[in-house]
Amino acid sequence: MSFINYMAREINCKIVYYGPGLCGKTTNLQYIYERTNPDAKGKMISLATETERTLFFDFLPLSLGEIRGFKTRFHLYTVPGQVFYDASRKLILKGVDGVIFVADSQMERLEANQESVENLRTNLAEQGYSLEKVPYVIQYNKRDLPNVVPVEELRALINPMNVPDFEANARSGTGVFDTLKAVSRLVLNELRRGG
């Protein structure tokens, strides 16, 4: 749920990166952080375990510029991907304006992707949202690895609604900003409709 501040002339939106463990959600945020002008970003916060697995969330505030005299700010969050952190994932989805699902393209993670999409659907529903209505895009990450599933096959399995989807390699940055822009566009369109 976006926050419109008429006093500060700001609009704040919350974007959540979702996906199975080790799919590259944090890597997406790190790349965005590294490549963003210092004036346009705040500090990146990572609540991670000692082995750098996300424990609760990563957080990165970004300013996109002005629209009709309102500063647009996006708060990017990741969820912990590991199955047993489900309680934390639910909390982070509260008040979400847009979701990016980061899929791990490797053959051996196919099932983990499908489980994670189902988990996203369930957890959104618990918050009163539906995956069909919330601004939603998919990123097929790790396309540079040798053992990847063809995009067509991934699409058939995890993108039956045919939402905007992108191939990416978050480590090198390919597709990272395209994915973010696509979801931001959907979020702003939703605002226009008064959602």
């Binding site: 926050f3 909390l91 509260k94 918050q127 566009r185």
Partner: protein, 160 residues
């Protein structure tokens, strides 16, 4: 959407700012801020120049969310108050009207007792202001400034 959109107008903002400014003085606090449950900073007062209020807002909301999750597991409605004691700084976190979070950071110039007392009074006032704000937001006919935005406006945001 399940929740009405969070909107802040000048009138209510000024009322809220008055409450937090006064709370800084009356509680001898270093910093007071208000965050909505989704982690968006609403107002701040005190020595805010040296702290990263955006990060604090997000972490406080995460903290409240996690504590709320624990409460649910224990079949409690919520834990409305939290207090963290440090060597120099202390932080008092109060959920107001199950909607916004009032955070007070203070040092040895104040005390937990004083902060609790002042927070209680401020919470009542804030609750009234946010209730009025919510009913205003839910009134039909409020124009969104974004109803008129064009595809071009959105494209312009992404011209690097």
């Amino acid at each position: 959407m399940v929740n009405p959109q969070m909107v802040m107008y000048e009138e209510e903002f000024n009322q809220i700012q008055t409450v937090v400014d006064r709370l800084v003085r009356e509680a001898n606090a270093k910093v007071v801020f208000i965050v909505d449950k989704n982690g968006q900073l609403i107002a701040a007062s005190g020595e805010v120049d040296n702290i990263d209020t955006t990060s604090l807002a997000s972490l406080t909301a995460g903290n409240i969310a996690a504590t709320g999750g624990i409460a649910k597991l224990l079949r409690e409605n919520e834990f409305a108050t939290q207090f963290h004691e440090g060597e120099k700084a202390n932080i008092h976190i109060q959920l107001v009207g199950n909607r916004v979070i009032l955070v007070v950071i203070f040092d040895s110039k104040s005390s937990l007792g004083l902060v609790r007392l002042r927070v209680r009074k401020a919470s009542d006032e804030l609750n009234r202001i946010f209730e009025a704000l919510l009913s205003k937001v839910q009134e039909p006919g409020g124009d969104s400034p974004f109803a008129e935005i064009t595809d071009e406006d959105i494209d312009n945001l992404f011209n690097d």
